[in-house]
Amino acid sequence: MSEVRKGYVRPIDFKRGLVDMSHGSGGRAMAQLIDELFLEAFDNEWLREMNDQARVPVPAGRLVVATDSHVVSPLFFPGGDIGCLSVHGTVNDVAMAGARPLYLTSGFILEEGFPLADLRRIVESMAAAAREAGVPIVTGDTKVVEKGKGDGVFINTTGVGVVPEGVEVSGDRARPGDAILVSGTMGDHGVAIMSLRENLSFETTIRSDTAALHGLVAAMVGAVPSVHCLRDPTRGGLATTLNEIARQSRCGMRLEETAIPVRPEVAAACELLGLDPLYCANEGKLIAICAAQDASALLGAMRGHPLGRDAAKIGEVVEDPHHFVQMRTGFGGSRMVDWLAGEQLPRIC
């Protein structure tokens, strides 16, 4: 008669296993998943406490908090995946206040049947991104929904950071005469994702630019503490984000098309699909608006950082009661750069 081996728990089969409802039920199966996957990957002093919450010291300065939910499809793409994207996205949202990100949370909603191999890949990517950014994931949550009720996996991350007194970065602070800068090439992420969609793929790999920008922001705020606005042009691209700021700040903007950096492959892919790179998402770039006299110092700080090498001044803020964002085309004419109407779709006409 075989003996029951005390304390033996069969390890999770990450190669072939699938998420099932028991992983979200709060019982042993869930505890094992958390232990063997999340704690193993994210490992830090707070998670080791094994509480449902994390106790962290309150820093001096003002607390900044941001949250983002990630539903990207496909989950894996050249340059990244939903995991590192969820870390970068929230780290960046916090950083756009001119703040230093300190801690992250992560909540997972898993669909029954989701392969554990993919889940592990995503979690390890998140862990690597968090370590590289120096921002630990200190607490989290896991739920499982029935098959058909989720798109594989949804991830929410919330970030907490601190901004020193005297740094006032906000979307309503753009003023006529200010310079508008971008940290690098536009449209990379959006085109990378679009080109993975069925029936639209290329044989060339266009990579997402997903990256954590808080180091770049720290360098920028160090050089120009009075920077007016910072924002990362994610969904809707540069055009939508500039329109948001124009509306918040109640001003207009004038851009120079030839000054906006776009990678040749991204421009070419857009030509083939009928897309406009100004409306394609970016996940590792930011827009900065500062007083005209600070533009040169800010640009210098950006270009001195690995994530800002292609930084450029692309336009200026103007008085405009309509809050229009307009652009002088390379051709010499003028056009509006309007809000995006729904998701940008490829076209044949």
Partner: protein, 379 residues
Amino acid sequence: MKYVDEFRDGTLARAIAARIAKAVDPGRTYHFMEFCGGHTHAISRYGVQDLLPGNVVMVHGPGCPVCVLPIGRIDMAIELATRADGDRPVTLCTYADTMRVPASNGMSLMKAKAKGADIRMVYSAADALRIARDEPGREVVFFAIGFETTTPPTALVVREAAALGLPNFTVFCNHVLTPAAISHILESPEVRSLGTVVIDGFVGPAHVSTIIGSQPYEYFAEEYRKPVVIAGFEPLDVLQAIEMLVRQVNEGRAEVENEFSRAVTREGNARAKALVADVFELRRDFEWRGLGRVPYSALRLKEAYATFDAERRFPMSEKSVPDNKACECGAILRGVKKPTDCKVFGTVCTPETPIGSCMVSSEGACAAHYTYGRYRSAA
């Protein structure tokens, strides 16, 4: 990008603009209709109007195959996508341009997809065929739209489907013809007798012309005494074509000139034309949004390919659905009104909440003006 960047050069643009400014007769206005929606888009997107003198006015024509699709045909596409009566569930494959066109009952293909219909966006007709081959358990319908540029690819996939004997592939054919539309405009009372719409010449479509050649336009030049200059797709092409039109008008000529000589010949693409002639035949008439029923203006599959015709495999009743009462797409497509003349432009009707197709398609006159040019009227 070779053959692209050089044709967008700002310095050359100024050179042509200067020549146009010198050539125009200050005592008159020149009205040119750019027929092709791609040209409408290029003019707005590059701000070509800014380089033209005030007395050269561009009138937008109905060369946007999405804009001219009547609501009834979109309803039929939605009906096809949501059919549940056959042996196999339906997959509707479409170019992305049609997804947001408003149909009846507040529906659109996008909304039908959200409600669960299997509607897939494809880049190419070949993708639709591939899906049919890869998924024999599904009935694949390809929503074919477009002018003569887009028709040859559809002809190719129909022939391939026939060669393969594919049982689960059909085409819902909405291909329309350029010369018929141009005729219709020139015959319309507003142009012919009333003079409400003045057209001094046409900027001929770029890519349609690579297929049909420059020869079909000779009829218009002769019969209606209107110059036609076929222009390439880039803004310099359009500007150059306008210069050539101005000169023709000044000199009292009414000829067909070909600015897009790097891709258009008089005969066009014989191979493509033969393929189309093999697969398609003319419909006696076809309803165009804004133009009403236009004779011999659209195509359907020939009897020999009947088994690949979605309208024969899935009989549907075609309803003529009138546009929203406030929608002026019809008048705008005919060049009778401008987007800003429409009462709902920019208020009820915007790219987010389009009422008519001119606002949905990015080459529609309304969408182009709203997205790129609205600041001119607001100022």
